[in-house]
């Protein structure tokens, strides 16, 4: 009896149908012509990076110890003692940065080509959720290294949650595991980072891709209509991106290795305390306005961004005018974001 026969008897599915479905869904998936341009492939990049993050993250848990006494020391151990530990940590660290960069690029592209329009509104919203989940990943992730920056970022970040109306205090206690940042906070962040967020983000990624496949990729104007199969051209493209990312992140790790910083000291707040660059706009904004205003404004911005696909049609009657609105709002958001980020970078 052949192996195929043996498996078929124990796993009785219609094999031919399976092959057919697989061909239809993956191998012969129609990819619109414009996807031949690299510019339109920024959606696959965060997915590849996420897969790499899962892998390097699992590797890091082999040595990381989530306790206030051991967290910093175990990160030091990974970076300085373990063979190629600096590389694995570097990949994870740079992977998170690149994931946020690629998501920003992807979202900007989707926004300005207005790919969020009916019937794809839900996928934009899921995309925003994915972006926020990624930021939560990043925040809980860099808190785990337990150096001065991560400790005080955790303190400041969780304090901000307190300002959320009604449930603020409850959220604060939930994230901290008590009133103060303590060992509970660290284990919570660890569990959220490695246990809670991954299945959540995988669920939303799947939903994102399913909706994308059901509608097909949105096609921007100005390209010749036509399709080509997923395999081999697009498949190779993804392989090339993966190889490029691995090489690129390894290079970054060697040129700009992630440092260790000072071990966390709950009694001394350092003079220059800054979050990671992707929180710079919010951070600078919060410095400019009173805390309550800052929190409410950030919340309002998030709401507008999330429901933009439903707001966009209300703003004007014709497509041309709506496009102008989108360009205006998107452009303004970009300019303000860049200004706030650069501003925060320039000042000590």
């Amino acid at each position: 009896m052949s192996v195929k026969q043996w498996i078929k008897e124990r796993f009785p599915i219609d094999y031919d149908k399976f092959v057919e479905i697989n061909e239809r869904i993956f191998i012969k998936e129609p990819i619109p012509n414009h996807m031949k341009k690299w510019f339109y492939c920024a959606g696959a990049t965060p997915l590849i990076l996420f897969a790499l993050q899962v892998f390097t993250g699992i590797l890091l848990t082999f040595y990381f110890v989530p306790s206030p006494e051991m967290a910093f020391e175990s990160v030091r151990h990974i970076t300085e003692d373990v063979r190629l530990g600096f590389w694995v940590r570097g990949l994870h660290r740079w992977g998170s940065n690149l994931m946020i960069i690629s998501l920003l690029l992807h979202m900007t592209r989707v926004f300005f080509t207005r790919a969020y329009r009916k019937p794809r509104e839900l996928n934009w919203i899921i995309g925003v959720i994915l972006f926020l989940l990624t930021l939560t990943f990043a925040f809980t992730g860099y808190s785990l290294t337990y150096n001065q920056l991560s400790y005080w970022a955790t303190t400041v970040g969780t304090n901000m949650i307190k300002e959320v109306p009604l449930v603020g205090h409850w959220l604060l206690v939930f994230w901290r595991g008590g009133e103060d940042v303590s060992a509970n906070t660290l284990t919570r962040f660890f569990t959220i980072h490695v246990g809670l967020l991954p299945p959540l983000i995988i669920f939303f990624i799947s939903l994102h891709i399913i909706i994308l496949r059901l509608h097909g990729v949105s096609e921007p104007e100005g390209f010749e209509k036509g399709y080509y199969p997923f395999y081999p051209h697009h498949f190779y493209k993804i392989v090339i991106i993966t190889l490029f990312l691995l090489a690129f992140m390894s290079t970054l790790t060697i040129i700009l290795p992630p440092g260790l910083g000072e071990p966390a000291d709950p009694t001394v707040t350092p003079f220059h305390i800054k979050p990671e660059w992707y929180f710079f706009p919010t951070y600078r904004f919060l410095k400019l306005v009173p805390l309550k205003v800052g929190i409410y404004a950030t919340g309002a911005f998030l709401l507008v961004m999330t429901f933009w696909p439903f707001i966009d049609p209300l703003l004007a009657k014709t497509e041309d005018r709506r496009r102008l609105w989108a360009y205006g709002v998107g452009g303004l958001t970009l300019i303000i974001t860049v200004i706030l980020t650069v501003w925060e970078m320039m000042v000590a």
Binding site: L59, F62, M70, E73, H77, D81, V82, R83, L84, G85, W87, V88, P232, Y236, V239, I240, L243, L246
Partner: protein, 152 residues
């Protein structure tokens, strides 16, 4: 499916991609294994003073403790022998019986002679021995250096 003739260009392209993926995969897996498997460390030893040469008469033993583990220092006609006091059967602590010139393990009646060899009972191998060095009438043993810290 009909066999299509591949152009030179697409053949080279495929070859390039496949060899790049192969090389990347192999080196990646090698690096990950290196990361996961801690390197074998060379054992380091240091000398540890256990007795003066004339301290014990021939046929006598004394028990000392090194890193919370009992160690027997025995003076034989041939010179000093130093054994670990941990029975090689299931880890109980042995006793020195001077009248019978043997070691006895109370847990499962294992018996070792004064050279550490198994005489009777269940122990699977002789007692572990330390390397003995006698210098200037002092008896030392070679003790393995255990690095401190949580990652030892």
């Amino acid at each position: 499916m009909e066999q299509e003739k591949q152009s030179r260009r697409s053949f080279l392209f495929n070859l390039g991609i496949i060899s790049a993926v192969f090389l990347a995969t192999v080196t990646f897996i090698r690096d990950v294994i290196a990361y996961l498997v801690p390197p074998r460390k060379k054992k380091k030893f240091h000398k540890y003073l256990v007795a003066e040469e004339l301290e014990l008469p021939v046929g006598q033993a004394k028990e000392i403790t090194i890193s919370k583990k009992p160690v027997f220092v025995v003076r034989l006609k041939e010179g000093y022998k130093v054994y670990s006091g941990v029975c090689t059967h299931l880890g109980c602590i042995i006793h020195w019986e001077e009248d019978k010139q043997r070691f006895y393990c109370p847990c499962h009646k294992g018996v070792f002679d004064k050279y550490g060899n198994v005489v009777s009972g269940p122990p699977p191998r002789p007692l572990d021995q330390f390397e003995v060095i006698v210098e200037n009438r002092l008896v030392y043993i070679q003790v393995e250096e255990k690095p401190g810290g949580p990652w030892a």
